[in-house]
């Protein structure tokens, strides 16, 4: 089920009302209800893959209990159970997401050395959200193994934690330590949380439907016919994708966090205005924060982090970025995207001393540099193949302005998209300056200001949104 769908518009109020009116007081029933709601939410996409979530969750539930039961005197058995969890979880992920990619890569590699194999790829459907819930479930076993937390004996709570519908298919990737205990809390209605949650939902939908999906029309056409998109059209395609990806994904996180708040749950912030970051390392502390911290906690630090000398640190960082690229998609383009970002962080941050404080001018320059670097890497992220990415770079320029409106957006829509982007960036700068105070000030404002904004956003979605039968409105990160 998509957040920007009619199904969700019916599902959410229904689940909300049942949750607060019928199931609030009995914890077991409430969590069971959330589990059923979450499975229903996922089942709308394809109910067959519910079994995969269930099996994955049951495995980790049992393995974590077993690991915990084993005494410290049996480190090998503990470790072998942890490795079993890794193998099983990554095995599922590997089969559904990477099977064809790896086999194809091996066949190509052998062909390069003159050994030909005949191979026909399997028609495997990639289960939506598998990368997200696998990492979430896996982090639980790892935390129990590293004794960062006690395992839960409450099966329903654990199943509900893995499948919690607001963040099931595209994050934020929550840690068991933070989210699981919330299933044991007795929830009382929090007006402030609910209204801020609702505002986040509407704001997220506005970003997604009005801006990101409109940019998508142009991007799909420029990247879909790279040979025709010459000069400024391609440049705008690349620029627009930089913003589409951010707005699309951050919108999903906003809606997820907002939805969770309506049910009294607190999710982790996933984006903190990354395009205002003045360094590459800062960028990764603001972009897809829950994935970055996952890689940091479960890959980078166990590999030694920065504790084993500068050269090992570089290797560790590159491994993390390589894996991050691979996590995003089964394609070498994603790997290249990851490595490029790793190299930016390793090379440009220290060389240009981006992490050191400086003047406003330096910070603006650094922020522009970070966005430019990110934009460059995203060409590999968006293009289907390496050759396509090279074609995109070859086509970049400032000429052929007359072709600008041949790619799905007429001049009025194109101009609107540009203004909307500028407005969004101004909002980001203001939000960066005032932080939480901005929201407090908004909620303290007169009713006509608040309702005026709610109405403007909602009617904006209805009247200015890029939706309809001809639009593909799924979220980009669903494919991961």
């Amino acid at each position: 089920m998509l957040f920007n769908s009619f199904d969700f518009a019916v599902f959410l109020p229904l689940v909300y009302l049942l949750y607060w009116l019928l199931f609030r007081k009995n914890l077991k029933l409430r969590n069971l209800f959330l589990l059923v709601a979450s499975y229903t939410f996922y089942g709308f996409w394809d109910w067959r893959f519910l079994s995969l979530i269930l099996i994955s969750s049951l495995m980790d539930y049992v393995l974590a209990l077993k690991i915990h039961q084993l005494p410290d005197t049996e480190p090998r058995r503990r470790k072998s159970l942890m490795i079993l969890s890794l193998v099983l979880n990554l095995g599922f992920l590997g089969f559904f997401k990477y099977y064809n990619f790896f086999v194809d890569s091996f066949v190509s590699a052998f062909a390069f050395f003159g050994k030909e194999f005949s191979y026909s790829p399997l028609h495997i459907i990639l289960p939506v959200g598998i990368s997200f819930y696998t990492f979430q479930s896996l982090s639980y076993t790892l935390d129990v193994y590293y004794k960062k937390m006690e395992p839960t004996h409450k099966l329903i709570n654990f199943l509900a934690f893995v499948s919690f519908f607001p963040q099931l298919v595209a994050g934020p990737i929550e840690r068991a330590k933070k989210l699981l205990p919330q299933f044991d809390e007795v929830k009382t209605f929090d007006y402030q949380a609910a209204r801020s949650g609702l505002l986040l939902i509407v704001f997220g939908l506005f970003k997604k439907v009005v801006i990101a999906d409109r940019l998508a029309v142009f991007i799909n056409q420029t990247y879909g016919s790279i040979a025709e998109a010459q000069g400024i059209a391609m440049l705008m395609g690349v620029l627009f994708f930089t913003f589409q990806l951010y707005l699309d994904f951050s919108a999903y996180s906003d809606i997820a966090i907002g939805t969770a708040r309506l049910f009294g749950f607190r999710l982790t912030t996933n984006f903190r205005r990354p395009y205002l970051s003045a360094s590459f390392s800062g960028f990764w502390k603001r972009w897809h924060i829950t994935l970055s911290s996952w890689f940091q906690d479960y890959i980078y630090i166990p590999m030694g982090g920065n504790r084993r000398g500068p050269s090992r640190k570089l290797v560790n960082l590159l491994v993390v970025f390589f894996l991050s690229g691979l996590w995003h998609g089964a394609s070498w383009n994603f790997v290249i995207w990851g490595i490029i970002n790793g190299l930016f962080l390793i090379v440009l941050d220290p060389v240009l001393k981006l992490e050191q404080p400086g003047s406003t001018f330096k910070r603006i320059f650094a922020a522009l540099l970070v966005v430019a670097g990110w934009m460059f890497s995203l060409v590999f992220f968006r293009a289907q193949t390496f050759a396509d990415a090279m074609l995109v770079f070859g086509n970049l320029g400032f000429g052929n302005a007359e072709m600008l409106y041949n790619f799905g957006l007429n001049s009025r829509e194109f101009t609107f998209a540009l203004y909307a982007l500028v407005a969004m960036m101004i909002y980001e700068i203001v939000a960066e300056r005032y932080g939480e105070k901005l929201l407090d000030r908004f909620f303290a404002s007169p009713v006509y200001v608040r309702w005026g904004l709610y109405l403007a956003l909602t009617l904006g979605i209805i009247y200015l949104g890029a939706y309809g039968a001809a639009n593909d409105n799924s979220f980009i990160y669903f494919q991961f």
């Binding site: 769908s5 009619f6 199904d7 019916v10 009302l17 607060w20 009382t188 209605f189 007006y191 609910a194 209204r195 609702l198 007429n410 009025r412 829509e413 609107f416 309702w451 709610y454 109405l455 909602t458 009617l459 209805i462 009247y463 200015l464 949104g465 890029a466 309809g468 039968a469 001809a470």
Partner: protein, 484 residues
């Protein structure tokens, strides 16, 4: 009062009750806000600011005409289907051939599901005696999987119907959930006009200030676009080795289509409406594997169903290349000429297979007032003293072995035409009529050839027709009739 208020001790509200109250407030505000948003959308919908350009929406026009017509007149035959129907049958000729009122309520590219709901609404508005369901709607796609173009047509069909309850019940059947709002609201469906067609919004704003007039005149749902038949150069394409223009085996009816065919049959049974399935032909060399399709439909419809299949067996003498649109693309429609052939074949089928079901209203004044002079009227009925048509001969035996029921000069298609009606049976294929004609001050005797009408085949007589004549000519006398 003030004193009693002063003495009242205010108990603190327990936090739980306070939270409950806040929750109730929150939900109430949400409901109020949703109503406000819905109100704004409803307003722009009601005003029609986001309406599409209805001037070319013949589906809406058909339904509006049907609602208007049925307010005052009975309807005898309702025909439902897709573009093959409204291009392939002339409802005026069918009506005049039967002496009845026949309506086409077809929309382009539609599914059997939509066809069923159209039939349901048509019956609910005014029950016909007989329903015709065209079988090309039994296509291979389901209503939930429609592509934007076809989906847009289904939106049009849905939006043209007016029964709110039926529409609510049929919404989840006809559309995927993400299209519910678009099906009900032009604002939702066409909101992109803000960027793509502001001129249409301006037109709609202007139109919203004018009271719309109901459909005027007789409109029975015909929408024929094709006038010239398949040309020789196009016919040559069928000669290409292995060329197959339309393969029925690739477009077998979906489960949903067959289900709604059965529902349509049940609907007619339940309402005591006779049902005829109608298969309109495509050019015989155009179609392949039709037998497979027919078998599946036959099994689904059951043995007793009445089915006029004009594709198989195919009447090569009646449906010539001239009867079909000049194309070898999959969706080959019929031409005007073809639609006349089909209308008369259908009329004959109804009168022979369903005798007495459709009443002959040609003697009713009300019917005559509606249909007099419409396409196909004079071919089937006698003209009256109307100052426009001229009866040159009636129930006469002018020699040459001919028994003329009627020889008339009638206005047609902006011209005039000479029609000769003969008793049914074997008659001549051509006759020559020598007429004394007057145009201005000039008089002359002119021989006119009348040929047996191939397309027009009235039930009660044989018809011979002339070419179209200058509308200014007047016939003063029939000089001689020669049987060729």
């Amino acid at each position: 009062m003030a004193k009693s208020l002063k003495n009242t001790t205010v108990k603190p509200v327990p936090p739980a009750i306070e939270k409950e109250k806040r929750h109730r407030d929150f939900v109430l505000k949400l409901v109020l806000f949703s109503a406000l948003v819905a109100g704004v959308v409803y307003y722009t919908d009601a005003k029609g600011y986001f309406n599409p350009d209805y001037t070319n929406d013949h589906t809406r026009r058909k339904w509006n005409a049907y609602y208007e017509f049925t307010k005052r007149n009975p309807v005898d035959v309702v025909m439902v289907g897709n573009s093959h129907l409204y291009t392939g049958v002339s409802p005026e000729h069918l009506s005049n051939a039967l002496g009845a009122s026949c309506f086409i309520l077809a929309s382009p590219g539609t599914t059997m599901t939509d066809t069923y709901y159209s039939l349901k609404e048509a019956i609910k508005v005014r029950k016909p005696r007989l329903a015709v369901v065209e079988t090309f709607t039994l296509n291979d796609y389901d209503s939930h999987e429609l592509k934007p173009g076809t989906l847009s047509e289904q939106f049009k069909s849905f939006s043209a119907r007016k029964d709110v309850v039926e529409k609510m019940l049929s919404t989840p059947v006809l559309f995927a959930s993400d299209h519910y709002a678009a099906a009900w609201s032009n604002t939702i469906r066409n909101h992109s006009f803000i960027f793509t067609d502001t001129a249409q919004i301006r037109r709609n704003i202007a139109l919203s200030k004018i009271k719309q007039r109901p459909e005027q005149g007789l409109y029975l749902g015909r929408y024929i676009r094709f006038t010239s038949g398949i040309e020789d150069s196009t016919l040559l394409k069928y000669e290409r080795p292995g060329f197959k223009a339309y393969e029925y085996s690739k477009h077998m009816p979906s489960k949903e289509a067959l289900k709604f065919l059965r529902k349509a049959i049940e609907l007619c049974d339940a309402n005591d409406v006779e049902l005829v399935l109608l298969t309109l032909p495509m050019y015989h060399r155009h179609v392949h594997d039709y037998g497979q399709f027919k078998k599946v439909v036959q099994e689904a419809a059951g043995p007793g169903v009445s089915w006029l299949d004009l594709q198989m067996p195919y009447d090569t003498a009646a449906f010539t290349a001239e009867s079909f649109e000049n194309t070898v693309s999959e969706n080959q429609h019929m031409t005007y000429q073809g639609s006349l052939v089909a209308a008369y074949k259908l009329a004959r089928y109804i009168t022979t297979r369903h005798p007495g079901v459709v009443p002959d209203r040609s003697g009713d004044l009300a019917w005559k007032q509606l249909f007099y002079g419409s396409d196909g009227y004079f071919e089937n009925h006698s003209p009256e003293k109307d100052g426009v048509s001229t009866v040159l001969m009636s129930q006469a035996e002018p020699g040459a072995g001919l028994r003329v029921k009627e020889l008339i000069l009638v206005p047609q298609q902006g011209a005039k035409r000479l029609l000769m009606k003969l008793e049914p049976g074997a008659g001549p294929h051509t006759v020559t009529v020598e007429l004394e004609m007057k145009a201005g001050n000039e008089r002359a005797v002119v021989p006119l050839d009348l040929r047996r009408a191939t397309a027009i085949s009235p039930v009660g007589h044989q018809l011979l027709v002339s070419d179209y004549l200058d509308p200014r000519v007047e016939v003063t006398k029939v000089v001689r009739i020669i049987n060729n």
